[in-house]
Subunit: 440 residues, 2 copies
C-alpha cells in the first residue's frame, strides 16, 4: 500500500512518490548555485540548504551510522559525484531517512513538517526549479542489450539470417560513447550536419554534406556508477550491484544516414556524438529493487562464468513510453515497451566492461541500448524500427506523420514502475526539442 | 643553428632542447603535490614554485601582455587544463618567455641563471622527478588516419580488394575511446583477460575466457585540445589550429583476439579499454611548427569543403620508433616510421569531429591512429602488421623472437623532429611494461 505524505498536493501516483526519493541537481531563481536535492511529489527538497539547518545530533537519528560532516560536504557540491562515492550502504540509509521525514505519520516532524523556516527555505515547487546535469560524467558507454532492437535493426541492415552477429548471445556488446554531449532533460538538440551517402548503390560512392535526413531517437535506460574499480581489477558480477548508484532514462539521439556511412569498421561516431539526453532525477538503485523481474529474453547460450548472476531477477519491469510532440502541439505516444526486454543486466554489463581491467569511475554512465518489445511497431524504441528505416510512416495526432524527426519536434521519454497496489516509482521526463541545423 | 644553454650538461641534441619547452606535471620527493613544469635538457623547471618567486613586473617583461595573476593561478594547478584553456596566443608568449630565460646569452639572467634560490628550489633533475598524467582528459577519440596501417590491417582481415572501406578516403574515420584507462609513461600494463574465439571457423562459435594471446601495441601521435567549442557549433578546419594545445606520443595497447570477437557491429571495446599510454611531456603546437611537411599520402578524392585546409603542409615529419625490451634486458628497435604518413591532419580530424556539433572540451585527447610507413615490416607501428597477425615472428636481440607481447616485455615509443642543422624537438619516451593477467 502506498503511503500518504503531509506535503501539499501530494499523490502516491506521482513519479516522485515516497517510494522513490530520486536525487538531482537544482538551482532556483533566488540561488543560482547548482546543488543537490531530492524530488517528492510536486516539490524538490534542497538538501544543501536544509541539512545544515538541522541540529547535528538530530540528523544522526535520521541517518544512523552516517558520518554527517562527510554527508553534508557531499550534499553541498554542484554534482552528485561526491554523494555517489559514499557508496550504496550510505545511499540506502539516506534515502530511508528522507522517506521517514515525509509521510503523514513521520517520526521526525520537527525536522521539516513542523519546521517552518526549513520548509520555506528548502522546499521548492518543481515548477520553479531549474534542473542541471546530475553527475560529472567521466566516460559514457552505450550497450546494445535490447534484444528486439538489435534483432530488428540487424534485419534492416543485414537481413534476417545475419541479423544478430555471432557474439551477441555471448557477451554484452557495447561501445564507448561521447561524454561531452550528454545533456539534461529539456536541453534543445540541434539537427546535426554530416557526411551522408544519398545513394548507397551508386559507384563510385560519393557522399554529400548536409543536415541529417534521418534524425532518430533511442529509448534507453541509463545507469550511473558509484563505487569505482582500480585499473587492472575486474568487478565480480555478484558484487556489481554495489557499484551502481542509480538509473535515468536516456535518449541516445542518432543520425541514421550519417551513422550508416561512417560506422565501418570502427563503430558509430558523428551519428551519435551530437547529443544524448538524460532525465534529471536519478532513481537510486534501492528504489527499483521491489520491481525486479526475470528478463523476458531467454538466452539459451551457456554463459561464461564471469557473466553468471545469482538469482534470476536481473531485469526491472520499468514501463517505458515515447511521446512525440509536433510543432503544432499535437502529442502522440508512438512507442510503449518495458525494460524487461533487456537481455543483459547492468551487473553483467559492468562485469564485462571491467573483465580486462578497464577502470570505472564514480559518475561513469552506462546506456542499456535501445529497448523495444516483441509486439510490432507500437513497441519500438526507435523510429528506425517503427518505419523500417523510413519505408513506412508513423501516423501522429493532428494529421501528422513521420518517418524521422522534423525540426520543431519534441520527443519525451517517460518511465515508471508500479506494483499493482498503487506504489509507484517513476523517472519524470527525458525530453528534447529539435532545432534546425547550422546553415552551411 | 641550435642555441646553447647555461644549464649544466645541456646538449642541443636533447629531446627537450631550447627549441622545445614541453609542459608536464611533476612531483618530487620533497613535494608530492603534482604541479606544472617544463622540461629543458636534463632538468624540469617547476613553474608553480618558480613563478611566485619572481617580481610581478619582471615577469611581465618576460611574458608581455599575459595576465600574470591568471597565469600564476593556471600554473599552480595539478593538471595543465587551466593553462591549456588560456589559449594558443598565451602558450606562444609563455613558451617564448621561458626560451629566453635559458640560453647562454639570456636577457633575463636575474630570473633564473643568477637567481640561486630560484635555481635551487625550482630546477630539478629529471631523474629525480615523478611524472603524472598532464591533463584531466574528458573524452578520448582515436582516429584511423595512418593510411599504411589501415590498408595493411584491412588486407589481413578482409583481403586486398576490400582493405579500405569506401568511406576511408572521404572522412577521418574514428571512434570514441576510453578516457579512464589513459596512463602516463612508465605505468605498468596488466595483460587483459577477455572473451576470445580460438577457432573462428568452428560452428557453433564458442568463445573461451582467458588472458589475451595477442597483446599488441599501436604507435600513435596524440593531440590535446585547448580551446573548447560549444555544443551545436562546428570548428572550421581553418581555425582548428587555434584549438590545439600540443602533442604527445600515444600507445593504444590492443588485444587483437578480444577485439576480433567483440568488434562487430559497434567497434573496438575491451580489446582497447584496458590501457592507453601517453608520453609525459606535452610538446606545444608551436614547437612543432618548424617541422611541417606535406603528408606523404596523396588523397586524390575530392574533399568536402569542411575538410579543405589552407596550404599543403598539414603533416609533421616526426621520426618515430618502437623499441621492445624483453625480460632479459635485450632491447631491439622493431619499427621506425614518421608521422608524415598520416593522411588526415589534426585540424581535419577536429573539423570532422565537430561537424555535427559535438562539443570538445579543454583536455580532450585525439589519437591519430597507428602510424606505419610504406616500406615493409620494419616500418610498422603494430605487431599485428609486423607479424601478419601472428603468422611470422619478429626477431629480437638476445636470441628472442615475438609474434605478440609476452609478460615482462617493455615497449618504448620515441619520437623527435630535427631540421638537419642540429635543432631538435623530441617527445621523450612513452613506455609501459606488461605484467601478468589476473588468475581466474
Amino acid at each position: 500500500m502506498a503511503k500518504e505524505s503531509w506535503l501539499p498536493d501530494y499523490s502516491p501516483a506521482s513519479d516522485f512518490s515516497l517510494a522513490n526519493i530520486p536525487f538531482g541537481i537544482i538551482s532556483t531563481p533566488d540561488n543560482q548555485t547548482p546543488r543537490p536535492a531530492i524530488a517528492i511529489g510536486d516539490f524538490a527538497l534542497d538538501l544543501k540548504t536544509w541539512l545544515p539547518m538541522i541540529n547535528k545530533e538530530t540528523v544522526s537519528d535520521v541517518f544512523p551510522g552516517v558520518d554527517i560532516s562527510q554527508l553534508t560536504h557531499a550534499l553541498s557540491q554542484s554534482t552528485l559525484n561526491a554523494f555517489a562515492a559514499l557508496g550504496r550502504p550510505v545511499h540506502r540509509i539516506v534515502r530511508k531517512g528522507i522517506q521517514d521525514l515525509l509521510p503523514k505519520d513521520t517520526p521526525f516532524p520537527q525536522l521539516l513538517q513542523d519546521n517552518e523556516e526549513g520548509r520555506t527555505k528548502a522546499l521548492k515547487r518543481l515548477s520553479e526549479v531549474t534542473m542541471h546535469l546530475p553527475m560529472e560524467i567521466g566516460d559514457y558507454t552505450d550497450f546494445y542489450a535490447g534484444y528486439h532492437h538489435a534483432y530488428a535493426v540487424g534485419v534492416i541492415f543485414r537481413g534476417p539470417e545475419n541479423a544478430l552477429q555471432s557474439n551477441y548471445m555471448h557477451l554484452p556488446v557495447g561501445y564507448h560513447g561521447r561524454a561531452s554531449s550528454i545533456v539534461v532533460d529539456g536541453t534543445p538538440i540541434r539537427r546535426p550536419v554530416g557526411q551522408i551517402l544519398l545513394d548507397p548503390k551508386a559507384e563510385p560512392k560519393q557522399p554529400v554534406v548536409g543536415p541529417t535526413r534521418k534524425l532518430d531517437i533511442e529509448l534507453e535506460l541509463g545507469c550511473f556508477i558509484s563505487k569505482p574499480n582500480e585499473m587492472g581489477e575486474a568487478v565480480d558480477v555478484k558484487q556489481a550491484q554495489e557499484h551502481i548508484f542509480g538509473y535515468v532514462l536516456l535518449n541516445d539521439w542518432s543520425a541514421r544516414d550519417i551513422q550508416a556511412w561512417e560506422y565501418v569498421p570502427l563503430g558509430p561516431f558523428n551519428g551519435k556524438n551530437f547529443g544524448t539526453t538524460i532525465s534529471a532525477w536519478i532513481v537510486l538503485a534501492d528504489a527499483l529493487e521491489p520491481f525486479r523481474v526475470k528478463s523476458e529474453i531467454e538466452n539459451k547460450t551457456e554463459l561464461q562464468g564471469y557473466l553468471k548472476e545469482e538469482g534470476e531477477k536481473g531485469a526491472f519491469d520499468i514501463k517505458l513510453e515515447v511521446d512525440l510532440t509536433t510543432a503544432d502541439g499535437s502529442e502522440t505516444t508512438i512507442g510503449r515497451t518495458s525494460s524487461k526486454y533487456l537481455m543483459w543486466s547492468f551487473p553483467q554489463m559492468i562485469a564485462h566492461h571491467t573483465l580486462g581491467g578497464c577502470p570505472m569511475r564514480t559518475g561513469d554512465l552506462l546506456g542499456s541500448g535501445t529497448i523495444s518489445g516483441p509486439g510490432g511497431v507500437k513497441e519500438r524504441g526507435s523510429l528506425l524500427e517503427m518505419t523500417e528505416n523510413g519505408k513506412n510512416e508513423v501516423l501522429l495526432a493532428g494529421m501528422n506523420a513521420r518517418t524521422f524527426l522534423k525540426d520543431g519536434d519534441s520527443v519525451t521519454l517517460r518511465g515508471f514502475c508500479d506494483d499493482g497496489s498503487g506504489v509507484r516509482v517513476g523517472f519524470g521526463r527525458c525530453a528534447g526539442k529539435i532545432y534546425s541545423a547550422v546553415q552551411r
